[in-house]
Protein backbone atom coordinates (compact mmCIF):
# COMPACT_ATOMS: atom_id res chain seq x y z
CA UNK A 1 0.00 0.00 0.00
CA UNK A 2 1.53 3.31 -1.07
CA UNK A 3 1.52 6.16 1.39
CA UNK A 4 -0.51 9.34 0.85
CA UNK A 5 1.94 11.32 2.94
CA UNK A 6 5.51 10.14 3.15
CA UNK A 7 8.11 11.83 5.38
CA UNK A 8 11.71 10.81 4.77
CA UNK A 9 14.65 11.70 6.99
CA UNK A 10 13.25 15.02 8.13
CA UNK A 11 15.49 17.17 10.34
CA UNK A 12 14.97 20.54 11.93
CA UNK A 13 16.73 22.34 14.74
CA UNK A 14 15.96 25.73 16.25
CA UNK A 15 19.35 26.69 17.59
CA UNK A 16 20.30 23.80 19.83
CA UNK A 17 16.80 22.36 20.10
CA UNK A 18 16.06 19.55 17.69
CA UNK A 19 12.35 19.46 16.94
CA UNK A 20 12.70 16.86 14.20
CA UNK A 21 15.46 14.27 14.34
CA UNK A 22 15.53 11.92 11.34
CA UNK A 23 11.77 11.58 11.18
CA UNK A 24 10.48 8.86 8.88
CA UNK A 25 6.74 8.49 8.80
CA UNK A 26 3.99 7.51 6.40
CA UNK A 27 0.24 8.14 6.48
CA UNK A 28 -2.04 5.86 4.50
CA UNK A 29 -5.38 6.39 2.84
CA UNK A 30 -8.34 5.62 5.05
CA UNK A 31 -6.25 5.25 8.18
CA UNK A 32 -5.88 7.40 11.26
CA UNK A 33 -2.42 7.77 12.75
CA UNK A 34 -2.07 9.19 16.25
CA UNK A 35 0.97 11.18 17.29
CA UNK A 36 1.47 11.05 21.01
CA UNK A 37 4.21 12.25 23.27
CA UNK A 38 4.87 14.88 25.93
CA UNK A 39 4.77 18.63 25.29
CA UNK A 40 7.76 19.78 23.29
CA UNK A 41 8.23 16.38 21.62
CA UNK A 42 7.93 18.00 18.18
CA UNK A 43 4.44 16.87 17.17
CA UNK A 44 3.09 20.26 16.12
CA UNK A 45 6.49 21.16 14.65
CA UNK A 46 6.20 18.10 12.45
CA UNK A 47 2.85 19.39 11.15
CA UNK A 48 4.42 22.81 10.54
CA UNK A 49 7.27 21.20 8.61
CA UNK A 50 4.90 19.15 6.49
CA UNK A 51 2.67 22.17 5.72
CA UNK A 52 5.62 24.34 4.75
CA UNK A 53 5.10 26.81 7.59
CA UNK A 54 8.60 25.93 8.77
CA UNK A 55 11.45 24.93 6.43
CA UNK A 56 13.28 21.70 7.29
CA UNK A 57 17.08 21.59 7.53
CA UNK A 58 17.09 18.37 5.53
CA UNK A 59 14.77 15.58 4.51
CA UNK A 60 11.84 15.26 2.19
CA UNK A 61 8.06 15.15 2.26
CA UNK A 62 5.95 13.55 -0.47
CA UNK A 63 2.22 13.88 -1.05
CA UNK A 64 0.88 11.13 -3.27
CA UNK A 65 4.43 10.52 -4.43
CA UNK A 66 5.04 14.15 -5.43
CA UNK A 67 7.84 15.96 -3.59
CA UNK A 68 6.69 19.04 -1.63
CA UNK A 69 10.15 20.58 -1.24
CA UNK A 70 10.24 24.21 -2.36
CA UNK A 71 6.46 24.53 -2.42
CA UNK A 72 4.83 27.26 -0.37
CA UNK A 73 2.17 26.57 2.25
CA UNK A 74 -0.71 27.51 -0.02
CA UNK A 75 0.64 25.37 -2.87
CA UNK A 76 0.88 22.33 -0.60
CA UNK A 77 -2.69 22.94 0.54
CA UNK A 78 -3.86 23.03 -3.06
CA UNK A 79 -2.25 19.67 -3.69
CA UNK A 80 -4.46 18.18 -1.01
CA UNK A 81 -2.93 18.84 2.37
CA UNK A 82 -5.29 20.21 5.00
CA UNK A 83 -4.73 20.93 8.66
CA UNK A 84 -6.34 22.32 11.77
CA UNK A 85 -4.69 24.28 14.55
CA UNK A 86 -4.28 23.72 18.23
CA UNK A 87 -5.57 27.27 18.85
CA UNK A 88 -8.17 26.87 16.07
CA UNK A 89 -7.30 30.07 14.12
CA UNK A 90 -10.78 30.69 12.74
CA UNK A 91 -11.54 33.96 10.97
CA UNK A 92 -13.26 36.06 13.65
CA UNK A 93 -14.94 38.53 11.28
CA UNK A 94 -16.62 35.79 9.25
CA UNK A 95 -19.70 33.73 10.06
CA UNK A 96 -19.44 29.99 10.58
CA UNK A 97 -20.65 29.38 7.04
CA UNK A 98 -18.18 31.87 5.55
CA UNK A 99 -15.34 30.32 7.55
CA UNK A 100 -16.14 27.01 5.91
CA UNK A 101 -16.72 28.50 2.44
CA UNK A 102 -13.26 30.07 2.37
CA UNK A 103 -11.79 26.59 2.75
CA UNK A 104 -12.89 25.57 -0.74
CA UNK A 105 -10.07 24.70 -3.10
CA UNK A 106 -12.17 25.68 -6.10
CA UNK A 107 -12.57 29.34 -5.16
CA UNK A 108 -12.26 31.58 -8.25
CA UNK A 109 -13.24 34.56 -6.11
CA UNK A 110 -9.64 35.14 -4.99
CA UNK A 111 -8.94 36.60 -8.43
CA UNK A 112 -10.19 40.14 -8.92
CA UNK A 113 -10.45 39.66 -12.68
CA UNK A 114 -12.80 36.72 -12.15
CA UNK A 115 -15.00 38.71 -9.78
CA UNK A 116 -15.24 41.70 -12.12
CA UNK A 117 -15.31 40.08 -15.54
CA UNK A 118 -16.45 36.49 -15.09
CA UNK A 119 -19.28 36.76 -12.56
CA UNK A 120 -21.08 33.75 -14.03
CA UNK A 121 -18.13 31.48 -13.35
CA UNK A 122 -17.68 32.85 -9.83
CA UNK A 123 -21.37 32.46 -9.16
CA UNK A 124 -21.41 28.87 -10.36
CA UNK A 125 -18.48 27.98 -8.12
CA UNK A 126 -20.09 29.86 -5.22
CA UNK A 127 -23.23 27.81 -5.67
CA UNK A 128 -21.33 24.52 -5.68
CA UNK A 129 -19.34 25.56 -2.64
CA UNK A 130 -22.42 26.71 -0.76
CA UNK A 131 -24.14 23.38 -1.29
CA UNK A 132 -21.02 21.54 -0.21
CA UNK A 133 -20.46 23.75 2.84
CA UNK A 134 -24.01 23.19 4.01
CA UNK A 135 -23.46 19.47 3.61
CA UNK A 136 -20.29 19.59 5.72
CA UNK A 137 -21.94 21.77 8.36
CA UNK A 138 -24.77 19.26 8.58
CA UNK A 139 -22.30 16.39 8.97
CA UNK A 140 -20.60 18.28 11.80
CA UNK A 141 -23.92 19.18 13.42
CA UNK A 142 -23.30 22.88 12.88
CA UNK A 143 -26.21 23.73 10.57
CA UNK A 144 -28.07 25.72 13.21
CA UNK A 145 -25.08 27.99 13.81
CA UNK A 146 -24.11 28.76 10.21
CA UNK A 147 -24.85 32.50 10.46
CA UNK A 148 -23.25 33.02 13.88
CA UNK A 149 -19.98 34.76 14.62
CA UNK A 150 -17.45 32.06 15.45
CA UNK A 151 -16.57 33.83 18.70
CA UNK A 152 -20.17 33.36 19.85
CA UNK A 153 -19.77 29.58 19.69
CA UNK A 154 -18.64 27.43 22.60
CA UNK A 155 -15.02 26.28 22.34
CA UNK A 156 -15.83 22.73 21.31
CA UNK A 157 -18.00 23.86 18.44
CA UNK A 158 -15.29 26.27 17.31
CA UNK A 159 -12.98 23.28 17.01
CA UNK A 160 -15.64 21.57 14.92
CA UNK A 161 -15.77 24.61 12.62
CA UNK A 162 -12.01 24.28 12.23
CA UNK A 163 -12.42 20.67 11.14
CA UNK A 164 -15.32 21.59 8.84
CA UNK A 165 -13.20 24.33 7.23
CA UNK A 166 -10.36 21.87 6.61
CA UNK A 167 -12.77 19.32 5.10
CA UNK A 168 -14.01 21.86 2.57
CA UNK A 169 -10.82 21.53 0.55
CA UNK A 170 -11.20 17.88 -0.59
CA UNK A 171 -7.88 17.09 1.01
CA UNK A 172 -6.14 13.76 0.54
CA UNK A 173 -4.42 14.15 3.85
CA UNK A 174 -5.84 15.82 6.94
CA UNK A 175 -3.67 16.78 9.91
CA UNK A 176 -5.53 17.51 13.14
CA UNK A 177 -3.64 19.38 15.83
CA UNK A 178 -5.16 18.64 19.24
CA UNK A 179 -8.76 18.51 18.07
CA UNK A 180 -9.90 17.49 21.55
CA UNK A 181 -8.06 19.93 23.78
CA UNK A 182 -10.69 21.78 25.77
CA UNK A 183 -13.56 19.86 24.18
CA UNK A 184 -16.13 17.81 25.98
CA UNK A 185 -19.64 16.45 25.78
CA UNK A 186 -21.56 16.74 22.59
CA UNK A 187 -18.72 18.22 20.53
CA UNK A 188 -16.41 15.42 21.64
CA UNK A 189 -18.67 12.76 20.19
CA UNK A 190 -19.27 14.87 17.10
CA UNK A 191 -15.58 15.34 16.33
CA UNK A 192 -14.93 11.67 16.88
CA UNK A 193 -17.72 10.70 14.49
CA UNK A 194 -16.57 13.19 11.87
CA UNK A 195 -12.95 12.03 11.96
CA UNK A 196 -14.05 8.39 11.60
CA UNK A 197 -16.23 9.31 8.66
CA UNK A 198 -13.40 11.27 7.05
CA UNK A 199 -11.03 8.34 7.31
CA UNK A 200 -13.69 5.96 5.99
CA UNK A 201 -13.97 8.16 2.90
CA UNK A 202 -10.34 7.36 2.08
CA UNK A 203 -8.50 10.35 3.50
CA UNK A 204 -5.23 9.83 5.35
CA UNK A 205 -5.54 11.36 8.81
CA UNK A 206 -2.86 12.34 11.29
CA UNK A 207 -3.85 13.40 14.81
CA UNK A 208 -1.79 15.06 17.50
CA UNK A 209 -3.66 14.56 20.73
CA UNK A 210 -3.11 14.34 24.47
CA UNK A 211 -6.47 12.78 25.15
CA UNK A 212 -5.35 9.15 25.33
CA UNK A 213 -8.86 7.70 25.29
CA UNK A 214 -9.62 9.58 22.11
CA UNK A 215 -6.43 8.40 20.43
CA UNK A 216 -7.01 4.80 21.52
CA UNK A 217 -10.62 4.74 20.31
CA UNK A 218 -9.94 6.43 17.01
CA UNK A 219 -6.47 5.67 15.73
CA UNK A 220 -5.56 2.57 13.78
CA UNK A 221 -1.99 3.09 14.78
CA UNK A 222 0.16 5.45 16.80
CA UNK A 223 3.68 6.78 17.01
CA UNK A 224 5.35 7.95 20.17
CA UNK A 225 7.46 11.07 19.82
CA UNK A 226 10.03 12.36 22.26
CA UNK A 227 12.44 15.29 21.75
CA UNK A 228 12.11 15.29 17.99
CA UNK A 229 12.43 11.54 17.56
CA UNK A 230 9.93 8.83 16.80
CA UNK A 231 10.64 6.22 19.48
CA UNK A 232 8.00 3.66 18.64
CA UNK A 233 5.23 2.89 16.21
CA UNK A 234 2.44 0.42 16.82
CA UNK A 235 -1.02 -0.15 18.22
CA UNK A 236 -1.99 2.74 20.49
CA UNK A 237 -2.94 0.40 23.30
CA UNK A 238 0.57 -1.06 23.26
CA UNK A 239 2.21 2.37 23.20
CA UNK A 240 0.30 3.68 26.18
CA UNK A 241 0.83 0.56 28.24
CA UNK A 242 4.59 0.58 27.61
CA UNK A 243 6.16 1.51 30.93
CA UNK A 244 9.24 3.16 29.44
CA UNK A 245 7.19 5.42 27.19
CA UNK A 246 4.79 6.26 29.98
CA UNK A 247 7.69 7.37 32.12
CA UNK A 248 8.93 9.63 29.34
CA UNK A 249 5.44 11.01 28.87
CA UNK A 250 4.91 11.93 32.49
CA UNK A 251 8.57 12.76 33.09
CA UNK A 252 8.94 10.47 36.10
Amino acid sequence: MSAVLEIKGLNKAFGGIRVADEINLSLHAGRVLGLIGPNGAGKTSLFNLVCGVVKPDSGEVFLDGAPLAGLKTFERARLGLARTWQNIRLFPSLSVLDNVLIGANDYPGTKLTNVLFRPGMVRAAAYRNLEKAHGILARCGLSDTHDKLVSDLPYGRQKLVGVARALMSDAKCLLLDEPMAGVEGHSYAAIQAVVREVAASGIAVGVVEHNVAFVRDLCDEGVFMFSGKILARGAVADLISDRQLTELYFGT
Binding site: V53, T73, F74, S93, D98, L112, N129
Partner: protein, 304 residues
Protein backbone atom coordinates in the same frame (compact mmCIF):
# COMPACT_ATOMS: atom_id res chain seq x y z
CA UNK B 1 -21.04 79.49 -8.50
CA UNK B 2 -17.55 78.43 -9.54
CA UNK B 3 -16.63 78.17 -5.88
CA UNK B 4 -19.45 75.71 -5.38
CA UNK B 5 -18.32 73.65 -8.38
CA UNK B 6 -14.80 73.48 -7.03
CA UNK B 7 -16.10 72.08 -3.74
CA UNK B 8 -18.20 69.46 -5.49
CA UNK B 9 -15.27 68.38 -7.68
CA UNK B 10 -13.03 68.18 -4.62
CA UNK B 11 -15.66 66.10 -2.81
CA UNK B 12 -15.82 63.73 -5.80
CA UNK B 13 -12.04 63.38 -5.92
CA UNK B 14 -11.82 62.74 -2.19
CA UNK B 15 -14.64 60.22 -2.31
CA UNK B 16 -12.49 58.23 -4.75
CA UNK B 17 -9.38 58.68 -2.58
CA UNK B 18 -11.03 57.82 0.73
CA UNK B 19 -12.91 54.85 -0.73
CA UNK B 20 -9.80 53.36 -2.27
CA UNK B 21 -7.71 54.10 0.83
CA UNK B 22 -10.33 52.35 2.94
CA UNK B 23 -10.08 49.36 0.61
CA UNK B 24 -6.40 48.99 1.56
CA UNK B 25 -6.32 49.90 5.25
CA UNK B 26 -9.89 49.03 6.23
CA UNK B 27 -10.87 45.99 4.23
CA UNK B 28 -7.35 44.78 3.49
CA UNK B 29 -5.95 45.62 6.92
CA UNK B 30 -2.77 46.69 5.14
CA UNK B 31 -1.32 49.69 6.88
CA UNK B 32 0.14 51.93 4.20
CA UNK B 33 0.37 55.71 4.28
CA UNK B 34 1.53 56.17 0.69
CA UNK B 35 -1.88 56.71 -0.86
CA UNK B 36 -1.11 60.37 -1.73
CA UNK B 37 1.98 59.17 -3.61
CA UNK B 38 -0.25 57.28 -6.06
CA UNK B 39 -2.56 60.29 -6.21
CA UNK B 40 0.54 62.25 -7.28
CA UNK B 41 1.72 59.64 -9.78
CA UNK B 42 -1.63 59.67 -11.56
CA UNK B 43 -1.76 63.47 -11.59
CA UNK B 44 1.78 63.93 -12.88
CA UNK B 45 1.69 61.09 -15.40
CA UNK B 46 -1.55 62.22 -16.97
CA UNK B 47 -0.57 65.91 -16.80
CA UNK B 48 2.86 65.44 -18.38
CA UNK B 49 1.65 63.12 -21.14
CA UNK B 50 -1.14 65.52 -22.08
CA UNK B 51 0.95 68.67 -21.87
CA UNK B 52 4.34 67.64 -23.24
CA UNK B 53 3.34 64.90 -25.68
CA UNK B 54 -0.02 66.34 -26.59
CA UNK B 55 -1.90 63.12 -25.99
CA UNK B 56 -5.66 63.41 -25.56
CA UNK B 57 -6.71 63.70 -21.94
CA UNK B 58 -9.26 60.95 -22.35
CA UNK B 59 -6.30 58.64 -23.01
CA UNK B 60 -3.83 60.07 -20.48
CA UNK B 61 -6.27 59.75 -17.56
CA UNK B 62 -6.51 55.94 -17.72
CA UNK B 63 -2.77 55.80 -18.41
CA UNK B 64 -2.17 57.85 -15.25
CA UNK B 65 -4.33 55.39 -13.31
CA UNK B 66 -2.48 52.41 -14.83
CA UNK B 67 0.86 54.04 -14.03
CA UNK B 68 -0.12 54.36 -10.36
CA UNK B 69 -1.50 50.81 -10.44
CA UNK B 70 1.80 49.43 -11.75
CA UNK B 71 3.97 51.64 -9.51
CA UNK B 72 2.33 50.16 -6.43
CA UNK B 73 4.42 47.05 -7.10
CA UNK B 74 7.42 49.09 -6.00
CA UNK B 75 6.19 49.07 -2.41
CA UNK B 76 4.10 45.92 -2.36
CA UNK B 77 6.49 43.41 -3.92
CA UNK B 78 9.44 43.95 -1.58
CA UNK B 79 7.49 44.66 1.61
CA UNK B 80 4.63 42.16 1.43
CA UNK B 81 6.98 39.24 1.28
CA UNK B 82 8.02 40.22 4.74
CA UNK B 83 4.63 41.66 5.62
CA UNK B 84 3.17 43.64 8.50
CA UNK B 85 5.00 46.69 9.79
CA UNK B 86 7.45 46.62 6.91
CA UNK B 87 4.71 47.71 4.57
CA UNK B 88 4.12 50.83 6.61
CA UNK B 89 7.82 51.64 6.74
CA UNK B 90 8.19 51.02 3.01
CA UNK B 91 5.18 53.18 2.29
CA UNK B 92 6.53 56.10 4.31
CA UNK B 93 9.85 55.82 2.51
CA UNK B 94 8.16 55.58 -0.85
CA UNK B 95 6.08 58.67 -0.27
CA UNK B 96 8.97 60.78 1.07
CA UNK B 97 11.23 59.58 -1.72
CA UNK B 98 8.73 60.23 -4.46
CA UNK B 99 8.03 63.79 -3.35
CA UNK B 100 11.80 64.45 -3.30
CA UNK B 101 12.21 62.98 -6.78
CA UNK B 102 9.39 65.14 -8.12
CA UNK B 103 11.05 68.21 -6.60
CA UNK B 104 14.42 67.45 -8.14
CA UNK B 105 13.77 66.40 -11.72
CA UNK B 106 13.01 68.96 -14.37
CA UNK B 107 10.23 67.39 -16.40
CA UNK B 108 7.87 67.54 -13.41
CA UNK B 109 8.42 71.25 -13.01
CA UNK B 110 10.45 70.66 -9.86
CA UNK B 111 9.46 72.31 -6.58
CA UNK B 112 7.53 74.98 -8.51
CA UNK B 113 5.03 72.39 -9.68
CA UNK B 114 3.62 71.28 -12.99
CA UNK B 115 1.84 74.18 -14.66
CA UNK B 116 -0.38 74.69 -17.70
CA UNK B 117 -1.82 71.18 -17.63
CA UNK B 118 -4.35 70.90 -20.49
CA UNK B 119 -7.98 71.25 -19.57
CA UNK B 120 -10.55 68.61 -20.15
CA UNK B 121 -14.26 69.13 -20.98
CA UNK B 122 -14.42 72.55 -19.30
CA UNK B 123 -13.58 74.67 -22.37
CA UNK B 124 -16.01 72.90 -24.68
CA UNK B 125 -18.84 71.99 -22.36
CA UNK B 126 -18.45 74.22 -19.30
CA UNK B 127 -17.57 73.52 -15.70
CA UNK B 128 -20.79 71.64 -15.02
CA UNK B 129 -19.71 68.90 -17.42
CA UNK B 130 -16.56 68.33 -15.38
CA UNK B 131 -18.56 68.26 -12.17
CA UNK B 132 -20.79 65.57 -13.66
CA UNK B 133 -17.79 63.69 -15.05
CA UNK B 134 -16.12 63.65 -11.60
CA UNK B 135 -19.27 62.60 -9.77
CA UNK B 136 -20.04 59.81 -12.24
CA UNK B 137 -16.58 58.34 -11.73
CA UNK B 138 -16.81 58.76 -7.95
CA UNK B 139 -20.16 56.96 -7.84
CA UNK B 140 -18.82 54.22 -10.12
CA UNK B 141 -15.78 53.73 -7.86
CA UNK B 142 -18.00 53.43 -4.78
CA UNK B 143 -20.35 50.97 -6.47
CA UNK B 144 -17.56 48.79 -7.88
CA UNK B 145 -15.84 48.77 -4.47
CA UNK B 146 -19.10 47.75 -2.83
CA UNK B 147 -19.50 44.95 -5.32
CA UNK B 148 -15.97 43.72 -4.70
CA UNK B 149 -16.08 43.77 -0.91
CA UNK B 150 -19.42 41.96 -0.85
CA UNK B 151 -18.26 39.29 -3.30
CA UNK B 152 -16.25 36.11 -2.76
CA UNK B 153 -13.23 38.39 -3.08
CA UNK B 154 -14.41 40.38 -0.07
CA UNK B 155 -14.76 37.19 1.94
CA UNK B 156 -11.21 36.26 1.00
CA UNK B 157 -9.88 39.70 1.98
CA UNK B 158 -11.65 39.47 5.35
CA UNK B 159 -10.13 36.05 5.98
CA UNK B 160 -6.70 37.27 4.96
CA UNK B 161 -6.96 40.26 7.29
CA UNK B 162 -8.06 38.03 10.17
CA UNK B 163 -5.37 35.35 9.90
CA UNK B 164 -2.88 35.16 7.08
CA UNK B 165 -1.36 31.81 8.06
CA UNK B 166 -4.71 30.06 8.36
CA UNK B 167 -5.63 31.64 5.03
CA UNK B 168 -2.50 30.22 3.38
CA UNK B 169 -3.07 26.73 4.76
CA UNK B 170 -6.45 26.80 3.01
CA UNK B 171 -4.65 26.97 -0.33
CA UNK B 172 -4.95 30.72 -0.86
CA UNK B 173 -2.11 32.87 -2.14
CA UNK B 174 -2.04 35.65 0.43
CA UNK B 175 0.78 37.60 -1.22
CA UNK B 176 -0.90 38.06 -4.58
CA UNK B 177 -4.16 38.98 -2.97
CA UNK B 178 -2.43 41.74 -1.00
CA UNK B 179 -0.56 42.94 -4.07
CA UNK B 180 -3.82 43.19 -6.01
CA UNK B 181 -5.62 45.02 -3.21
CA UNK B 182 -2.89 47.64 -3.05
CA UNK B 183 -2.62 47.86 -6.84
CA UNK B 184 -6.33 48.39 -7.36
CA UNK B 185 -6.53 51.07 -4.68
CA UNK B 186 -3.40 52.77 -6.02
CA UNK B 187 -4.82 52.78 -9.53
CA UNK B 188 -7.98 54.47 -8.26
CA UNK B 189 -5.89 57.04 -6.40
CA UNK B 190 -4.02 57.67 -9.67
CA UNK B 191 -7.33 58.20 -11.45
CA UNK B 192 -8.34 60.73 -8.79
CA UNK B 193 -5.01 62.46 -9.38
CA UNK B 194 -5.63 62.71 -13.11
CA UNK B 195 -9.10 64.15 -12.52
CA UNK B 196 -7.57 66.70 -10.15
CA UNK B 197 -4.75 67.68 -12.50
CA UNK B 198 -6.91 68.40 -15.55
CA UNK B 199 -9.33 70.58 -13.67
CA UNK B 200 -6.99 72.68 -11.54
CA UNK B 201 -4.29 72.57 -14.25
CA UNK B 202 -1.55 72.83 -11.63
CA UNK B 203 0.00 70.32 -9.25
CA UNK B 204 2.90 70.84 -6.86
CA UNK B 205 4.90 68.28 -4.87
CA UNK B 206 3.95 69.63 -1.44
CA UNK B 207 0.31 68.78 -2.12
CA UNK B 208 1.19 65.11 -1.79
CA UNK B 209 3.09 65.14 1.47
CA UNK B 210 2.23 63.41 4.71
CA UNK B 211 -0.46 66.00 5.60
CA UNK B 212 -2.40 64.56 2.69
CA UNK B 213 -2.07 61.06 4.18
CA UNK B 214 -3.48 62.42 7.43
CA UNK B 215 -6.41 64.02 5.60
CA UNK B 216 -7.33 60.78 3.83
CA UNK B 217 -6.91 58.73 6.98
CA UNK B 218 -9.16 61.16 8.86
CA UNK B 219 -11.89 60.83 6.24
CA UNK B 220 -11.80 57.06 6.48
CA UNK B 221 -11.66 56.92 10.28
CA UNK B 222 -14.25 59.63 10.95
CA UNK B 223 -16.61 58.23 8.34
CA UNK B 224 -16.22 54.61 9.39
CA UNK B 225 -13.45 52.26 8.43
CA UNK B 226 -14.39 49.05 6.64
CA UNK B 227 -17.76 50.37 5.52
CA UNK B 228 -18.79 51.53 2.05
CA UNK B 229 -20.56 54.75 2.99
CA UNK B 230 -18.23 55.77 5.83
CA UNK B 231 -15.41 57.13 3.64
CA UNK B 232 -17.99 58.80 1.36
CA UNK B 233 -19.51 60.68 4.28
CA UNK B 234 -16.06 61.37 5.70
CA UNK B 235 -14.94 62.87 2.41
CA UNK B 236 -18.03 65.04 2.06
CA UNK B 237 -17.86 66.23 5.65
CA UNK B 238 -14.17 67.03 5.77
CA UNK B 239 -14.19 68.73 2.40
CA UNK B 240 -17.22 70.91 3.04
CA UNK B 241 -16.87 71.72 6.74
CA UNK B 242 -13.63 73.74 6.48
CA UNK B 243 -15.13 75.55 3.47
CA UNK B 244 -18.34 76.32 5.30
CA UNK B 245 -16.70 78.61 7.82
CA UNK B 246 -15.27 80.72 5.03
CA UNK B 247 -18.79 82.11 4.62
CA UNK B 248 -18.49 83.73 8.03
CA UNK B 249 -16.70 86.98 7.41
CA UNK B 250 -13.46 86.47 9.26
CA UNK B 251 -10.06 87.91 8.42
CA UNK B 252 -7.80 85.36 6.65
CA UNK B 253 -5.31 85.50 9.51
CA UNK B 254 -7.91 83.87 11.76
CA UNK B 255 -9.61 81.75 9.13
CA UNK B 256 -6.58 79.62 8.24
CA UNK B 257 -5.74 78.47 11.77
CA UNK B 258 -9.46 78.05 12.53
CA UNK B 259 -9.82 75.58 9.68
CA UNK B 260 -6.85 73.64 11.00
CA UNK B 261 -8.32 73.62 14.49
CA UNK B 262 -11.66 72.42 13.18
CA UNK B 263 -9.95 69.60 11.34
CA UNK B 264 -7.94 68.31 14.29
CA UNK B 265 -10.82 69.03 16.65
CA UNK B 266 -13.11 66.74 14.71
CA UNK B 267 -10.53 63.96 14.86
CA UNK B 268 -10.08 64.37 18.62
CA UNK B 269 -13.82 64.36 19.27
CA UNK B 270 -14.25 61.19 17.26
CA UNK B 271 -11.35 59.52 19.00
CA UNK B 272 -13.09 59.96 22.34
CA UNK B 273 -16.77 59.69 21.54
CA UNK B 274 -17.11 57.60 18.42
CA UNK B 275 -13.93 55.64 17.71
CA UNK B 276 -15.65 53.39 15.15
CA UNK B 277 -16.63 56.44 13.08
CA UNK B 278 -19.99 57.81 11.98
CA UNK B 279 -20.92 54.49 10.41
CA UNK B 280 -19.44 51.69 12.54
CA UNK B 281 -18.49 48.54 10.65
CA UNK B 282 -20.55 45.45 11.50
CA UNK B 283 -18.76 42.77 13.50
CA UNK B 284 -19.48 40.16 10.87
CA UNK B 285 -18.80 40.23 7.15
CA UNK B 286 -22.04 41.12 5.40
CA UNK B 287 -21.28 40.01 1.87
CA UNK B 288 -22.17 36.84 0.08
CA UNK B 289 -24.30 38.37 -2.65
CA UNK B 290 -22.48 36.44 -5.35
CA UNK B 291 -23.58 33.20 -3.74
CA UNK B 292 -27.20 32.35 -4.37
CA UNK B 293 -28.31 32.57 -0.79
CA UNK B 294 -31.34 34.07 0.86
CA UNK B 295 -31.44 35.95 4.13
CA UNK B 296 -31.81 32.84 6.23
CA UNK B 297 -28.73 31.35 4.65
CA UNK B 298 -30.71 28.64 2.95
CA UNK B 299 -29.79 27.62 -0.55
CA UNK B 300 -31.71 29.54 -3.16
CA UNK B 301 -32.33 26.79 -5.66
CA UNK B 302 -33.49 29.23 -8.31
CA UNK B 303 -29.88 30.34 -8.55
CA UNK B 304 -28.78 26.93 -9.77
Amino acid sequence: MDFFYVIVIMVGIYVILATSFNFVIGYGGLISVAHPAFFALGAYASGILARDLGWPVLLTMPIGALFAFASSLLISLPSLRVSGDYLMIASIGFQLGLVEVIKHVSFTGGPGGLTAIPQFLVRDYGTVSYVIFTLVIAVAVVLVTRRIVNSDYGRAISALRDDELAFATLGKNAMWLKIWVIALASGLAGLAGAIYAHYFRFVAPEQFEVLQSAAMLTMVVVGGMRTIWGPVIGAILLQTLPQAITFINLPPSILGPLQGLLFTGVVLLFMFFRPAGLIPAPAIWQGGTSAPIDRKGKLDVRGA
